[in-house]
Symmetry: C2
Subunit: 444 residues, 2 copies
């Protein structure tokens, strides 16, 4: 049975971009053609690869390479498009047009999806094409499909993930070796784990794009990168890791998507809200995400009925990302062949975004203080005056090295910020050394 093709008519594939992912996708399309044909029901035939530079040797026949992506996608014998070129432009227009023309698209482009899923999904809807993007979040780890499909009969309350390999490599190395941020970043750059300009990774933009995608899927609500509160790891110090370690924690860059239960009396009429945020946070070493080290990724999903699920694996790299792309490609091709369709965008819930100021978290505040009686009491009083409840205070060191480490109960950011502003002005407080959030503790 098939809806749109004669039995076995080849399905044409165009690939946009031939970096590490594109190269691996092309290799599998050529080396494993028999397996792919058996799984699809029809052969997948590579029609061409759009690249920027034709002069580079890519081990492909010249007639398969082109710099004219638009012309490649316009070919009648191209049914499926793999977009692994990255960036917003020209990817946005290229795959938007392809979708509108009824070609199904598989993309790994998180930045594009974080802002333009709505537009792309509408284009796909108009022509009944498919838009698949498993590879956009956490590489080979199936997270997008489980959220869209497996959990479609459940209510997701929270998604917490380590979704950026570069920052996780850096934080893991700082934790293991005690080295400073700049030194580890330099090493990561040398090893190819960090880009020459690491901003997108270390400042949390990459993780924020992924958080937007995950939150959209988890809560059936359109969330874009601008909705995500974001802090990077560039201010994390060796001392932060050391202090974390002293309280049985490590520091991870977390992408957190959380359903904030609505209050019946609230303006939104009691509707749940969605909090989406990316920041470095302390997590207890016994937390399942604490042992996710190096370039690995992991995502924890909490749902009403499923309870807590965890997905773990390689979140980046040519081969793992290609695995996710190719899985999507086989599914998109099957739909072309059998006439089915992937689930489209689901944003019916339209939950409002909760501002970061409304999202209570626990805090770990590190103060350098004067070593004299009454300082602890004065500090504690400042927290109390701002309605921030303290869980523990640890006093360590003497003389110039005297420090206070305060761990709070859940507090809203505005109260904490006010507290810190006052602390910074206090005579007995030499410096507010660091303010980090604490996540993953049992306290609700």
């Amino acid at each position: 049975m098939n809806g749109t093709n004669d039995a076995g008519r080849p399905l044409g594939v165009a690939v946009l971009g031939m970096g590490t992912v594109g190269t691996e996708v092309v290799r599998v399309l050529r080396d494993h053609a028999d397996d792919l044909r058996s799984r699809v029901g029809a052969p997948l035939v590579l029609r061409g690869v759009a690249v920027r530079d034709l002069s580079k040797d890519r081990g492909l026949p010249a007639e398969l390479l082109t710099t004219d992506a638009e012309a490649l996608l316009a070919r009648d014998d191209v049914d499926l498009v793999v977009e692994v070129m990255g960036g917003i432009d020209p990817a946005r227009k290229l795959i938007g047009d392809a979708l509108a023309a009824g070609k199904s698209v598989v993309t790994a482009n998180k930045a594009l999806l974080a802002d333009y899923t709505g537009e792309l999904a509408a284009a796909a809807e108009s022509s009944r094409a498919d838009l698949y993007f498993e590879a956009a979040v956490a590489g080979a780890i199936p997270v997008v499909r489980p959220l869209i499909q497996s959990l479609s009969g459940d209510r997701v309350n929270k998604v917490v993930g380590i979704v950026n390999g570069t920052t996780n490599f850096i934080l893991s190395a700082m934790d293991e070796t005690g080295a400073a941020y700049d030194d580890v970043l330099a090493e990561a750059t040398d090893l190819g784990y960090a880009e020459a300009d690491p901003t997108a990774d270390v400042e949390g933009y990459d993780a924020a794009a992924k958080a937007a995608i995950l939150a959209s899927l988890a809560f059936h609500t359109r969330v874009t990168a601008a909705d995500v509160y974001r802090e990077g790891i560039s201010k994390i110090t060796a001392e932060d890791l050391e202090t974390a370690s002293a309280v049985g924690c490590t520091v991870k860059l977390l992408a957190i998507c959380e359903r904030v239960p609505g209050e019946p009396s609230a303006a939104e009429g009691g509707k749940d809200r969605v909090s989406v945020r990316v920041y470095p946070a302390l997590i207890p070493r016994k937390h399942p995400l604490a042992s996710v080290n190096g370039a690995f990724n992991a995502v924890v999903v909490e749902a009403d009925n499923a309870g807590r699920l965890m997905f773990y694996g390689q979140g980046a790299g040519g081969a793992p990302t290609a695995s996710a792309v190719l899985g999507d490609l086989v599914m998109a091709a099957r739909n072309k062949f059998y006439g089915g369709r992937a689930p489209g965008e689901s944003v019916y819930a339209e939950l409002p975004i909760a501002p970061i100021g409304d999202t209570p978290t626990r805090y770990h505040v590190n103060l350098q203080v004067e070593d004299r009686p009454g300082v602890l009491a004065a500090v504690a009083d400042t927290f109390a005056q701002h309605g921030v409840s303290i869980s523990t205070v640890r006093q360590q060191g003497h003389g110039d090295g005297a420090r206070l480490v305060v761990v709070t109960h859940h507090a809203v950011e505005s109260s904490l910020a006010d507290t810190v502003a006052v602390l910074a002005e206090m005579d007995s407080v030499t410096a507010v050394t660091s303010v980090l959030r604490l996540e993953g503790t049992e306290e609700s």
Copy 2:
């Protein structure tokens, strides 16, 4: 757009069985009807629940309950069937007939699927209905869908899982407390973690059914329960756990599905073979599966491009299993509504099954020996004569308590069995206390 229904015409659901899973499925269908309608595109309406005993109060209107499952499924207004009654008969005929009549089926019935997926898939194929079964393996943890869809463009080499909660609860408790098997089993029965007749769980039948399903999906090959080599945990002793602990290991009941690379000179013409086996094995405590405790499940998948993935969560229980069932139900309903179809059975690879005797593993052999010089040499010589290479030997205790713990390199079962038979007859060996496999070590 929709293929087979007027826009929004309700889709009728029949549920077979109202145990813990069925009860939760029915609750969500009724309590979360709005969410489900938004996700499907049309309302899901519960047409009836087939139960064995009408007299029990189930909090449902009497007209929704029936003992006549056949009549319920034959109703024209039933489009989708949820089978959570378990057992082979009458489930096999009921859902086979429903599929042949074009009704899509969601089932959690691992025993049925392990032996009759071929027959059921053919019935589904004949009428273009869907057969979904995420809940049959590892409860709420998405494993079936990732194997069928997400990894459809990759080559899976190995699947290793802890897929039975009862045995994992027992082994975890034995590991933690040092208690004997019988005592922990009694406790598990009291707590409701083990059934009155625990045979299906403790003898590995449940895990073997799940292994057959996982292997079928991973290797695109039909694997039935009879193809699975199976040993249970009822012979595991407190001493086994203690010995395991002494070498940095714990004992887990593992379901292992492995691609055994073909040899070009072999009878099958170099085709890969599939080894599927369930047995208790030592695994190093640092292995990701070692920390999966209690009633939790986890599945590790290794694929060419994806590398090693791990899926973790609650593998049993009413709510988690219902989550998986309901996710499948939403997808099956969407297909009914939009005219798509789930991927059918994929068995094109038809890889032969490798007999357990051909599957090399490492072994951990515990011997009670006479405390005199030359015993270690004689034992080592016996292994060597049978071509079993020793990795480590540890001698412990004195006098009547003298023991040898031998860990081998990879060896085939027949060689190991021959070795053990000779050891058992040796004058200097008082007893072969235990022979357990060792899995999850770096050695290939």
